[in-house]
Structures are given as C-alpha cells and as structure tokens.
Amino acid sequence: MSLADVQITLAPNALVAHVTGEVDMSNAEEMGATVIGATPNEAQGVVLDLSRVEYLDSAGIYVIYGMRSSLQARGQALILVIPPGSPVHDALRLAGAEHPGEVTETVDDALLALERLKPPAI
C-alpha cells in the first residue's frame, strides 16, 4: 500500500483534503500537487486535514508552506486541521514552525473560519 492517502471532498466554497498515513520526502510533493490540482478556481480555500497523518517530516512542512504560497497567489486561503498532541503538531513544534498559517482543531472549525474569510455579498 502507498505511504499516504489523500481523500478529497468538496464542501460549499471549499475543498477538504483528508490526508492519512506518513508524509516524507518520497511523497510530500505528490500530496501537495494532488491537492492543489484538485482545487477549483471558485473555491474560497482549502482545508488540509492533517489530523490523521501519522508522520510528517521537514519535506512535508516545506510542501505545506509551498501550498499556502500557491493558493495565496490565486486568492485562496489554506487552513490546516492539526489537533494538539497529534504527530503533525509535534513535528511542527520540533521544527520550530508552530505557526504555519491558520490552524484549527477540527474540519468543522476550519470550514467556519473559511466562511468568515468570505467577502460580504454585495
């Protein structure tokens, strides 16, 4: 089986990507490209659910930063779902990267956060 899986669902205005398994230099770029490639232009942003990732290394962190830049260039937001005490949380702490952008504890919170970012309807 592959090291990690990415399951993509579409919420109104957002793409939600649930990542499971281990992310390292062998598959980090592929994960990033899969998510960015699947994001529709009209989406407000991307929710990257890392709550079930069992391992993330510096290559993975690098890709997440890269994803944020490319989404920003398209005017889209990236919200990370990282519960406290999860392996990704610990990896970010070790890397001294506690603030990799907007982080929530659950996917629902992330979707609410995206909703708040939405420009008011005219």
Partner: protein
C-alpha cells in the same frame, strides 16, 4: 588493490556439512560413460509426457548410480521455492508436497549457488527436509537442473549407507541432469497448458495470493494443498496495513466444488476490502458476515482474521467459528483457545469479539484450516494436539509450514484441501548496522525498523516519535547528498547503553548547506529532538551522530 583479490573466484556459500563438488576429470571408465549416456539420451524419452518421463529418468539414474533414492524438485518461480515433483525411494517428498525455499538446506543451496553439493553425513549437515532424515538417508549428492542459463530445479540422489560420491558419480548425475533438464522444461510447458484446462484448479489457484510480499519486522509463509479429488473452498490472505501492521486471514467455505471455490473468492475479496479500510479484526468479520447474509443463497464459512502490530508485538485476533491458532514460542507451542463467534452466514448480526495475543521476539502465529487436523475416526482435539507437537521448536514461519505438512499430511494425500499461513515476529537485534540504498522510499523502511528497535530498547511513545523523526531527517539529508545517477548507499548504525541511545548516519557525499528557510528545518528538528548532535564533515562523506537519553527505562 592486491592482485589476489582480482583473481579470487567467488566461492559458493554453503551450510554446515555441505561440500561443493566440481567435475574435475572426465569419467575414467569409458564403457560406463557410454552406458550412462545411452541411458539418458534414449530418443524414446522425448516422446513421453512429463510424469512418465520423470519416472523413466529416475529409474535409469537409480540403476546407473546404484543409489537408494532419487528425487527431482522443480523451481516454482512464483514462490521462489523448490517443489518435489518426482521421487524414487522418497516418494513421500512428492506426496506431502515438500517445498524448499531457494537458498535454504541442501536442495535450496544447490539451486541458489548453482553448484553440485555432496553431503557425507546427513545427521551433521544443513538439511531442511525432514523426510530425508526420517528415511535414514546417510549420504547425498545433488546437482542443479539448468536450461539455457535458467534454473528449473534440482536433481538429487541418496544412499542409506555411508557413501562417498566421487567425480565419476557426479559426472553421471550431471550427464543425467543435462539430458533431463531440457526434456523436463519442454514437458512442463505442455503440462502447464493442460493444467490450466482444469478449470477448478485454475480458479482456486487464481484466487490465492501470488506473492506474500515482504515486511519489516516479521516474516510470513503459507501453503495451499489441494484435496486429492475435489476442489475446495479454503483460503488464506496476507494484507499490508498502515502503521507497521499486517493482517493475516484464514478461511474455509463449507462445501466443495466450483461453487465453494467461487464463494471463497468473493469472501476473500470482501474481507480484504474491509481490512484495508482500516477496520479491526472483529469489525471486519462482522462486515463480511453481513455480506454473506446479503447473498441470496445458502452460504457458510469459518474464518479468522489476525492483525499483527510490529511496533507493539501484539496480535488482535477475531474468529468466526474457526479452529484455534497455534502460538509457537521456541520449544513450546500451544493452541490459543477462545470461544469463537458463530461462522459467517450462520446467524444474522453476529458479534465478533477481539482477543489480544502477545507475540514475543521470534515467536510464531500459525493459522490453518481443518483439512490439516481432521481425520476420520479421530477426535479433532487429537489432531490439534498432533499439530501443536509438530510445531514445537519451529524456528521460522517457513519451517513451521514444512513441519506441519510433513507431520500431518498423510502419505495417501488429503481428502480435504488445506490452507496454512504462518507469521513470525522477527527478533529485534541489539544493535542496528544497516547499509541502505540512498532513495527516498528507504525512509519509511528506516522508520519501521527504528521504531521496533526503540520499543525493544525501552523507549516510550514520545522517545519513539522524536528519535524517529530526527533519524529520518538525518537519512533524508544523506539521500539528498547522493547525486544521481550513480546508485549510492548510506549507513545507519544504532546502539544503546544505560538508557541512552546513539544513532549514527553516514553518507559518502558532500554536506550541502541547507537551502532556503524551510530546507533548514530538517537540521532544526534533529537538534530539537536529540540531546546531543555532532556533524562531522569529512573528505569522503558526512557523519551525523545523535544521542538521546530515554525518558523511562
């Protein structure tokens, strides 16, 4: 480099008591050579179907060499094993379906090294096949069967009395092998085609896993023995799961014939599909039960599903009416008895409880179907007791399978089919000394090996997580240093003393300063996760030595 190194010929790797023979001289007695070559080149032989051809060849070899036993094992490429195909004097080899892994024991070594091997005294030599000992064979001589550079099998002869097989014997046996190999190859091709026509056998075969895969921290072995007459519905499966876990399945559809084999295929697929979704063994069996209930046909099967976790060395086990597994611990073996849930398809909404089995370093879990232990007129518990006896002392999953088949499968063959799958929790070494390919996919393997090793050294969950990420980062650096296209390796050594572990990662490339803000994070992680980090940049490579005191010992 010294001259001698260039001239050194690679020596075959042999086991104890094995002697490699070479054909040094031509056969001394011309008349014997003529006689032998006539025996093996008889044009009539090429007309025979495979079984008759092998029979004729064995008879001629037995007469020419005046030996007590002759056996031909053919190479099964799918399983990388030698399968006994024809024998004289040791007919049990074929009847019990003896399978010898390439590289192991007498025949396995002949195949792996492609050399002739002589064993003067079987009692003091590396011989895997118990039948050779049981028959009281004293001396053995074997040669590889090779056609156009391809290994197709092994031919060996044996003597019940001590005998020194010499160059003349070897020359005759090699002549026989040279004549036999192409004929066997030709006839097996034809036989394989005919075999495919037997729909039920082909169906059964196609439904079983082609290869068991390779796993870190454990080894698996399996057997499927068809029944003498009818196709059955037994199956096994080995499923790679996430987080260093592996699933082992054994199952048995009630009934025989094509219908049973077809249902087996559906059950195997549905169980496999639920398992890779990440359901535990109990839930997986409950879901398969629901699937069986949904079929509008009478269908019943017993099955057991075990999930082995290589990090914690535990098995989670659930059974739906299946026979108890056997746990082997060195010279001790016992049946793991639990009250099984009802068979699949027996009652709607059955519940399957999960049971935990601790599997120590080197211990084995053995799953099997009833065909192995059920004999007419003998209580089932006696059959299980006999199996427990047979498995005592089995040192590997492969050995356990060989011992069970050798001791329990009757000479006259089986009335019911048998599936077996065995797993061994590999012993964790005290120190790690690994030479690894510098490729990104190596990292996941390093982490699996390291996690097991750390747990064995007494590391707690935090120790394991933090040391693993630090070492994986150091390895990632080593991999980045290795410039393509030249294939490169790096070294990983790990040892521990007094609650402190040390891991050294060494490559042969040049240290590259971190590039960009994020690329430097790898080094930050290493420093943050370990108590002490030394980076030595040398002429011929870079070494990162990391130490950490474990929190709880």
């Amino acid at each position: 480099m010294a001259e001698a190194d260039h001239e050194r010929v690679r020596r075959p790797r042999l086991g104890p008591g094995q002697i490699a023979l070479e054909v040094a001289e031509p056969i001394t007695e011309a008349s014997e050579q003529v006689r032998s070559s006539y025996r093996f080149s008889d044009p009539a032989l090429s007309e025979l179907p495979l079984d008759a051809l092998l029979d004729a060849l064995l008879n001629r070899i037995q007469a020419a060499l005046e030996v007590d036993t002759v056996a031909i094992l053919l190479h099964d490429e799918e399983s990388q094993q030698l399968v006994a195909r024809a024998a004289k004097g040791v007919e049990e080899e074929v009847e019990r379906g003896v399978r010898i892994p390439i590289g192991r024991g007498f025949a396995g070594r002949i195949a792996a090294e492609r050399v002739a091997i002589f064993i003067a005294d079987v009692d003091h030599a590396d011989v895997l096949n118990p039948i050779l000992r049981e028959k009281g064979i004293h001396s053995l001589l074997g040669v590889p069967l090779i056609v156009e550079g391809k290994l197709i099998g092994v031919l060996h002869v044996g003597s019940l009395t001590p005998r020194t097989f010499g160059p003349n014997d070897l020359a005759v046996l090699q002549l026989a092998a040279a004549r036999a190999a192409p004929a066997i190859e030709r006839a097996s091709l034809t036989a394989r085609l005919e075999h495919e026509h037997s729909v039920s056998v082909a169906l059964q075969r196609s439904l079983l896993p082609k290869s068991l895969g390779e796993f870190t921290g454990m080894t698996v072995a399996s057997r499927y023995l068809p029944a003498r007459e009818e196709v059955g519905g037994d199956w096994y499966d080995v499923i790679e799961l996430s987080r260093g876990r592996v699933g082992l399945v054994i199952g048995d559809v009630v009934g025989h014939g094509i219908a049973a084999a077809a249902l087996m295929g559906r059950l195997r697929t549905s169980l496999h599909a639920y398992a890779i979704e990440g359901h535990g063994p109990g839930r997986t069996l409950e879901l398969v039960d629901r699937f069986v209930q949904s079929l509008n046909e009478p269908a019943m099967a017993t099955a057991a599903y075990a999930v082995f976790d290589t990090f914690s060395s535990t098995v989670l086990y659930s059974t739906a009416g299946h026979l108890p597994p056997i746990v082997v611990s060195g010279s001790d073996a016992r049946a793991f008895e639990v009250t099984p849930a009802p068979p699949l398809g027996a009652f709607p909404y059955g519940r399957c409880p999960e049971h935990e089995i601790a599997l120590g370093s080197g211990e084995l879990l053995f799953l099997y179907t009833d065909g192995l232990v059920e004999r007419r007129g003998i209580p089932l518990s006696d059959g299980i007791d006999a199996l427990v006896e047979a498995l005592r002392g089995a040192g590997s999953a492969e050995e356990a399978c060989t011992a069970a088949v050798a001791d329990l499968v009757p000479i006259e063959g089986l009335r019911d089919d048998v599936a077996i799958v065995a797993l061994q929790n590999s012993a964790v070494p005290r120190e790690l000394h690994l030479q690894l390919p510098a490729e990104p996919k190596t990292l996941a393997q390093v982490r699996r090996i390291l996690r097991r090793w750390l747990v064995e050294r007494g590391a707690d969950e935090d120790d394991v997580a933090e040391v693993t990420i630090a070492v994986s980062e150091a390895c990632a650096n080593a991999i980045e240093h290795a410039y393509p296209p030249a294939p490169a390796d790096f070294r990983l050594d790990a040892w521990g003393t007094n609650g402190e572990i040390t891991v050294a990662v060494r490559d042969t490339g040049q240290w590259r300063p971190p590039r960009g803000q994020n690329r430097g994070r790898g080094l930050s992680i290493i420093v943050a996760a370990m108590d002490d980090v030394q980076i030595d940049r040398m002429e011929n490579g870079t070494e990162v030595v990391m130490r950490r005191r474990l929190r709880h010992r």
